[in-house]
Amino acid sequence: MDANNKPLLRTPLYEWHTSRGARMVDFSGWEMPLFYSSIIEEHHATRSAVGLTDISHMGRLRFEGPGAAVFLAELLTRRVADMQLGQIRYSLVTNYQGGIMDDVLVGYYHNAHGQPFYVLVVNACNREKIVRWVQQHLPPERALRRGQEVLFSDVTPLWAMFAISGPRSMALLQPLVDVDLQWMKYYRGAQVRILHPAAKRQGGILSRTGYTGEDGFELSIGAEVAAEIWEVLLEYGKSLGATPTGLGARDTLRLEAGMPLYGHELTEQIDPFQAGLGYTCYLTGYDFPGRDVLLQIQQRRPALVRVGLEAQGQRIPRQGCAILRDGAVIGTVTSGTFSPTLQKPIAMGYIPPQHAVPGTAVHIDIRGRAEPATVVELPFYRRDRTPKGT
């Protein structure tokens, strides 16, 4: 049961997780693995080899029909109408006040009949809210408008989704799919065939996207074949050091990569410019909710900006800790953890821009004790992109 006494949702891999002794937790109403053996070990496995994470809790919303592109352009902050086939973009959904309702990936694909469709990947914690938001903006007269029909469906339970992240992710996936992955660019995706009988001739959607700061892919496949394909991936990946990784490592990895998490860095009280996501707002195109407010906000200096923080001591700043300068509270920590790569506590938070210069000395109130910390540039970790052999 979750906090609202609703039964927890389970992914197609639930049995596999529990049979492997995973520590299961309630994550946004889903019963998900936090870790199998250790968050730190799973983190290092992703940075050095390849980690496999069940992310089937992510909401997947599908939009079809001749009006889908314009409908999404009028819902999302990012440009949609000019997307190329197989392209994926990171976007926000904003409310009429310009507050962030969700951060999403929108992908543009063709089905087997050559008809276009879009997939919106939304956060598990926001799925119901975004579904209601879509329905509110898609009354029958809009959905059925002649020549601009939009067919919307929440396909989350039908599809499992795996994140395959790390320097060996391509080596793991290549023998199993019918597309040449070296030509799949970052933020591109394609419908693929899975070259294994366990897939039962089903296809999937593979994209070069991720949430760890490593090279990586995300694979959506039918729920009924998901558990078998997961085992095939682990079997193929054995010699590469492929490791199942839980949501604990997903969080430490994304924090090191400086990526925001909804409910922490992103909320409806934060606008895209504060969050450092102004680049996702295309304000001179279609009129999406909050666009006029964001045009105003864009002209002003933001009251708060998102920054990285490195603690000097060993105690970890956590969400809600006050950030102090010269004894006065200037902001709040939104996420914090121990960085397995840097071997020290790291955090993100919001402070006024005049304090946000990298190198600024601050304190963080950790359970009543002011601990010294430094404002640092994001991300905390950037992978080495030097081609091998040079």
């Binding site: 520590r23 299961m24 870790f35 250790s38 604990g248 060993q314 359970r367």
Partner: protein
């Protein structure tokens, strides 16, 4: 070697080993249980008190932090810290490996040894853990 069934426990997962000196005074060695360590996993930091500090039963004497969360360490008795296991602070792996021996945390000279009678025995503590399975 002290067997877990000879230790007493708090509901907050500290263990206490009670020794009686020849002069009748008591000394309590305190640590955290294997169950607590498994629940935490991925320890990154432990904070232990300096010797001489006064502690109170049920009140925190230190904290232990893992990647995911921080937990306070609660004293099983009123008394004075007479020794802290400073060796364990920089060797958290040892704490995870050997929580009932070399992984002890503090020794307390209790001011009211009768408080120790209120601690859980092994059977009661085991029941508490079984009611809250980790997996």
């Amino acid at each position: 070697m002290v067997a877990p069934d000879q230790l007493r426990y708090t509901p907050t997962h500290e263990w206490a080993h009670i020794e009686k000196a020849a002069d009748g005074t008591s000394l309590v060695t305190v640590g955290i249980t294997a169950y607590a360590l498994e629940a935490l996993t991925d320890l990154v930091y432990i904070d232990l008190p300096e010797t001489g500090r006064q502690v109170k039963a049920g009140q925190p004497f230190g904290e232990v932090e893992s990647v995911k969360a921080v937990s306070e360490l609660y004293s099983p008795v009123d008394g004075e810290i007479v020794e802290s296991n400073t060796a364990i602070v920089n060797n958290l792996e040892q704490l995870s490996k050997d929580p009932y021996q070399s992984g002890w945390l503090v020794r307390i000279k209790p001011s009211d040894p009768s408080q120790l009678n209120k601690l859980l025995d092994y059977a009661a503590y085991r029941k508490l853990c079984e009611e809250n399975p980790l997996h």
